[in-house]
């Protein structure tokens, strides 16, 4: 029971961190149909900026998070304008190569600027320690990650289902050229959702720094995990991504607790099984 409970809490927190990072990828992939392998690199940039702000500039946790999110968005804007614009609608292979190239460059530059060591982001006193739930105590940071994940999910659900922007976004996801013909400025929709996606990735990178440590190979190591979440959930679907994060977080954490010697064997086996059964993802729609 004890083990079960700690696995559940860890899996939930891990799943939520995965969700915050990959939901942006899922939305942009559904919207722009770009296979973006560089998404993890943006999460890594966020982690690096937060670590730099907290350690070298002496800022507080909240300020560091804000700086990381906005800093990453600012860095991503020229990358989007100069590089991503050219691969919208290009064949998959081209997109894979371009985004892998971007990832390699970011890894190399991050290593050159920050060095190859692991970076930590110091937590404020309120997020350290553990909270007593009466029958069990859990780390406050895990709770914080879970709450943030749920908040992001809720905010995105509201923005996409209830606002005018959400209507235009959904229209563009379904049929971009038809939406443009009806007067939706799809370019602005693209730019805004790309910025939101990158901002969320950076936020997730900072939030999950305890679970996914920030180091130069971060972008390559977890790239696969984020892509897996998106394709298992189905590109462009928030409930799908949420479900995928919880399922995959659960499988991964359970595997680590119960059979650590098998590494990620069962994780990838589960991924292959799920995709073979649902080739379009858990919540994917036929196109």
């Amino acid at each position: 029971m004890q083990t079960f409970f700690s696995i559940a809490v860890d899996a939930f927190a891990y799943g939520m961190v995965l969700f915050v990072i990959s939901i942006g990828l899922s939305v942009t992939m559904g919207l722009m149909r770009v296979v973006n392998l560089a998404h993890g690199a943006f999460a890594m940039i966020g982690g690096y900026i937060a670590s730099y702000a907290a350690h070298d500039l002496g800022l507080g946790y909240a300020a560091a998070v804000l700086l990381a999110v906005f800093g990453t968005v600012i860095i991503s804007v020229p990358i989007e304008r100069l590089l991503y614009r050219r691969i919208y609608g290009a064949p998959e292979l081209t997109q894979v190569l371009m985004t892998i190239g971007i990832t390699f460059c970011i890894i190399g530059i991050a290593n050159y600027v920050f060095g190859p060591t692991l970076k930590t982001i110091p937590l404020p006193a309120t997020l350290q320690g553990s909270a007593d739930l009466g029958f069990r105590s859990i780390a406050v940071h895990r709770l914080f990650a879970i709450v943030c994940g749920l908040a992001v999910a809720g905010a995105l659900w509201y923005a996409i289902e209830k606002t005018a922007f959400g209507v235009k976004l959904r229209a563009s996801v379904d049929n971009a050229s038809m939406a443009a013909a009806l007067g939706v400025r799809t370019e602005i929709i693209y730019a805004v959702s790309f910025a939101v996606a990158v901002g969320l990735a950076a936020f997730g990178g900072v939030l999950g720094a305890e679970l996914l440590p920030v180091e130069p190979y971060y972008a390559l190591r977890y790239m696969v995990t984020f892509l897996v979440v998106v394709s298992v959930g189905g590109a462009g679907s928030i409930p799908g991504a949420l479900l995928a994060c919880l399922v995959l977080g659960g499988i991964d954490t359970t595997g680590r607790y119960l059979m650590p010697e098998f590494g990620e064997f069962f994780f990838y086996l589960a991924v292959i099984a799920i995709i073979c059964v649902f080739p379009r993802g858990l919540a994917g729609r036929a196109r």
Binding site: L83, L93, T94, V96, C105, L227, S231, E264, I275, P279
Partner: protein
């Protein structure tokens, strides 16, 4: 015999001649570094096999080293555990191992399209990697599989420290594979695969089954990658987990695109350029190497989407057209 057939046979001969000339130049330029040249040939076979599925069939995969590594482990296990140390039999074991891995990967990867397909290929390479790591009594795990000592080739040519036999063996294997593949991609089956890449629906309407054809191509591709893996196992006499890694898969894709997809010459050009470049630069600083590969990739995608060989070939074709 038509003029068209004549011309393609002429190009086959030019290709074989070019490989022989390049191999000789390599031997004369780097007599002390034949191990690198042999490795280039082994990786070249991997990139050729990737070209079969990516360039000719349009399947984007980031897990192709699974086929190469399976071939290498098959040849290595045959030698280390079953005492099959004849180099030709080891190569045959590599072909079988690669083809079997090709069958497995093909059946799994071809179930999906687009992003899920890519994710399946990545998951497969990690699965193969973890499996090889776990089955350490067979594969040596993370220490690598050692104890491979191939017999002299035909009983006379020993695989010595300088790697001359391995190099010549590799060149001959490459020539044989290249000739067979030239015939394959021109055959009706090769044309069918190109058709599937262009328009699978149309091919289905014409009565062929894209899936069966692609799985066949995957098995052939696995056999080619297996030859490369076996050559690597024979020449280095050790098989490491890195031959089953995601990095190896991604690098082979980079090489293919650098040279140009959909052309056997492009695959070989890309491999040679990339490997020589890597040998010089990564010795200096592995991280700058990564930045440079990234920048190179972006540049190729933006400015030479057909790759080095494709762009050069298109340039020559344009010149020729202007003259006539």
């Amino acid at each position: 015999m038509t003029a068209r057939q004549n011309r393609s046979i002429g190009r086959d001969l030019i290709g074989i001649g070019a490989i022989v000339v390049a191999a000789t130049i390599g031997y004369l330029l780097f007599p002390d570094n034949l191990a690198l040249l042999t490795r280039i040939i082994a990786i070249g076979l991997l990139v050729l096999s990737l070209d079969l599925v990516t360039g000719y069939c349009g399947v984007a995969t980031l897990g192709h080293a699974a086929l190469f590594g399976s071939g290498a482990y098959a040849a290595g296990i045959a030698a280390a555990h079953y005492g099959i140390t004849d180099p030709l039999l080891m190569t045959f074991a590599g072909i079988l191992g690669g083809a079997l891995a090709g069958l497995i990967c093909g059946v799994v990867i071809l179930r999906a399209h687009g992003l899920p397909q890519l994710v399946l290929s990545i998951s497969l390479i990690y699965l193969f990697h973890e499996f090889a790591n776990k089955a350490s009594s067979w594969t040596g795990g993370s220490d690598g599989l050692s104890g491979i000592s191939p017999d002299p080739l035909f009983g006379t040519f020993e695989f010595d420290l300088w790697g001359q036999t391995a190099y010549v063996f590799g060149v001959v294997l490459l020539l044989a594979v290249f000739t067979l593949l030239r015939l394959l991609v021109r055959s009706p089956f090769g044309m069918l695969c190109r058709g599937i890449k262009e328009d699978p629906l149309r091919i289905m309407a014409m009565g062929a089954s894209p899936k069966v054809a692609l799985i066949k191509m995957y098995v052939i591709s696995g056999a080619v990658a297996g030859v490369g893996g076996a050559l690597n196992a024979i020449s280095t006499q050790v098989v490491g987990l890195d031959s089953l890694s995601f990095t190896q898969s991604a690098e082979s894709l980079v090489m293919l695109v650098l040279g140009g997809t959909g052309s056997l010459f492009g695959a070989l050009t890309g491999t040679i350029v990339f490997m020589l470049f890597e040998d010089y630069v990564s010795a200096a600083n592995p991280f700058h190497w990564l930045t440079m590969v990234g920048a190179l990739l972006i540049a190729v995608v933006l400015f030479a989407p057909k790759g080095l060989y494709g762009t050069a070939a298109a340039f020559i074709a344009r010149r020729r057209e202007k003259r006539t």
